[in-house]
């Protein structure tokens, strides 16, 4: 399996709104904790180490420049 980088979420705007709503009214510390738990839950769901490594690298490189 490879990391899917093409659009894959039905109802993109709804998903994004839900993600932001998670953090509404929360402190930075609460938000950081939620994000960390979310990453771990999703990572476990994916499971495939190669896909996870690929995602980690892309998360870093997409932020450059």
């Amino acid at each position: 399996m490879t990391l899917n980088t093409t659009p894959n979420i039905a109802g993109a705007d709804d998903f994004y709104a839900e993600l932001l709503a998670l953090h509404e009214g929360r402190s930075k510390a609460e938000s950081d904790a939620i994000n960390a738990r979310l990453i771990l839950l999703l990572a476990n769901h994916i499971g495939d180490r190669l896909v996870l490594s690929d995602a980690m690298q892309k998360a870093v490189s997409a932020g450059r420049g």
């Binding site: 960390a36 771990l40 476990n44």
Partner: protein
């Protein structure tokens, strides 16, 4: 009555070497009579190799040191002839509990796979461990085995030559010199031998302090390992509680980096900390209190010509994972048979390079594991703390996160993958007994499997016809035929789905090679490979 660790168990006695007219040359000198030096001495003496052991002290270990001895270390001491004494005295445990803040978030069983003679771990004070090794050494001496243990003999100079090593030794009656064909340096983390030879010891210091209190109390905590992250009684830090024999409890409180050590060690500061943990009414006495900082480091090479380093002298790890003494015993387990073959002229000198190769590999595995545990226990940045706490919160609710919790990956034996001593593998057989692995124990009808393995090369045949014994270049291979019907565990561990198997086992109970049928030439070739004659 004085305690065992206050009693000189091998007081200084003048040796004949001190009055000899000519420099005496010994086949093997072991520097240091800690657990590793004693283990090496017993192993070699059991193989008939004469050893001189010198130690600058004359007592067993003092202060808070090792308490957890792992299954593999116990199996090695079984081979050394003193496993029963250790296990009889030790506290058995196999359950670990993890707490976060005020909650117990989960517990784990260390050895869910039953059918092994020895438990996953016992807890035993290092001074007892050493005392039992010393008794075994005395027993061997009484049987006439060649061990000469010299207390208050401190090595003060060492000279390395192509074909021997020179040693200068200080005693209460002044210095003397001896020569040795081989030296095994087991002189601990501050190894004077290493320093005198100008050798490196490189690694990482963890910027943290731990208050270690060995506390004597009557308490009804169970025999389990309890580990706390961020408990109310030690906010922002970790804590560990562990039971030892004689109602001694090991308490380990993380303090952080910027602390006044002198102040923290004063009873008026230690006692309130312990009461906060154990309850105001807890009645206890302190056996020892100390503050440790930990390092993970190793020598670049464990062999320097005729000087071989083992135990803490060669590598040092943080104690989370109980890998110090446990891995040191695996060093001498690996070294003793190789040295004996080389000394007997049955294997080339290069066999000793594989001691370096295999045990550096083992040390790196231990250092990696201890470093990772330490990084989990002491997060190095805000983000690493956020992830650490996220793992702990999730672990309370969801099993998936429990394997990520790292309060010490407890010592398991090393598999020498990629070792040049490994011979052919038969991939149909279970992967965790591939060449380089430690033999797994299993119940047999009249004994345990591991009681029948070790100290020589053996051909273990399951459902395959093999000759009564083989020999090559003066090295014998003993035949061991064991039927798969002896126990389901044996069949499962050694055959998996296969119908038959042949394993070539090393004297240290590691798998050298394996097949699903017998071919004499293949076995002899594997023996040559396993003894560095390939």
């Amino acid at each position: 009555m004085s305690k065992i660790f206050e009693t000189p168990l091998y007081p200084y006695q003048r040796s004949r070497d001190q009055d000899a007219l000519h420099l005496v040359r010994h086949p093997v000198v072991i520097i240091g009579a800690g657990p590793i030096g004693l283990g090496a001495a017993i192993d070699l003496a059991q193989h008939g190799v004469p050893v001189v052991v010198v130690d600058d002290n004359d007592k067993v270990s003092f202060g808070s040191r090792a308490i957890c001895f792992a299954k593999r270390a116990l199996e090695i001491t079984d081979r050394l002839g003193c496993g029963d004494a250790l296990v009889d005295k030790g506290v058995l445990w196999d359950t670990g509990k993890v707490f976060f803040d005020t909650r117990e978030i989960f517990n784990f069983d260390l050895m869910p796979d039953k059918g092994h003679h020895r438990p996953a771990f016992i807890n035993l004070q290092q001074y007892y461990f050493e005392e039992y090794l010393l008794s075994r050494l005395r027993e061997l001496q009484a049987e006439g085995k060649p061990i000469d243990l010299r207390g208050k003999n401190k090595v003060s100079a060492i000279g390395k030559h192509d074909d021997h090593v020179t040693l200068e030794i200080d005693t209460p009656e002044g210095p003397y010199n001896i020569d040795a064909d081989w030296v095994i340096a087991c002189d601990g983390a501050n190894s004077p031998t290493r320093r005198m030879l100008g050798l490196d010891f490189i690694g990482r210091v963890f910027e943290d302090n731990f208050l270690i209190a060995d506390t004597i109390m009557e308490a009804d905590f169970p025999s389990e390992r309890w580990f706390w992250f961020d408990p109310p009684f030690n906010r922002g830090q970790s804590a560990l509680l562990h039971k030892q024999p004689d109602n001694v409890w090991r308490i380990d409180l993380q303090l952080g980096w910027d602390v006044d050590k002198e102040k923290e060690m004063k009873p008026e500061n230690v006692i309130p900390r312990l009461k906060a943990m154990l309850g105001e009414d807890a009645k206890f006495e302190l056996e020892w209190v100390s503050i440790y900082t930990f390092q993970c480091r190793r020598m670049e090479a464990f062999r320097h010509g005729r000087v071989l380093f083992a135990g803490d002298a060669a590598h040092q790890v943080s104690p989370f994972g109980a890998r110090g003494a446990n891995s040191g015993l695996q060093d001498t387990d690996n070294l003793a048979w190789k040295l004996q073959l080389v000394m007997a002229g049955l294997a080339p000198d290069s066999l000793l390079d594989t001691y370096n190769q295999e045990r550096v590999y083992g040390a790196d595995e231990n250092i990696l594991n201890s470093s990772r545990s330490t990084d989990f226990i002491t997060p190095k940045s805000d983000t690493s703390r956020i992830f650490r706490d996220a793992v702990l919160d999730l672990a309370e609710v969801y099993p998936f996160a429990r394997p990520l919790v790292n309060s010490g990956r407890l010592s398991v034996p090393c598999t020498y993958d990629g070792s040049t001593l490994n011979g052919p593998d038969a991939v149909e057989l279970p992967v965790n007994l591939r060449p380089g692995s430690t033999a797994l124990d299993a119940p047999l009808k009249a004994s345990w499997l591991l009681e029948r393995l070790g100290d020589k090369f053996q051909l273990l045949a399951i459902g395959v016809d093999i000759p009564d014994g083989l020999e090559d270049g003066g090295i014998a291979i003993e035949s061991l035929r064991i039927d798969a019907s002896e126990s389901p565990e044996f069949a499962r561990r050694y055959l998996g789905g296969a119908r038959q198997a042949v394993y070539l086992m090393r004297p240290d109970q590691h798998v050298a090679a394996r097949w699903t049928s017998f071919d004499k030439d293949a076995v002899i070739a594997a023996l040559r490979t396993a003894t560095g004659r390939g």
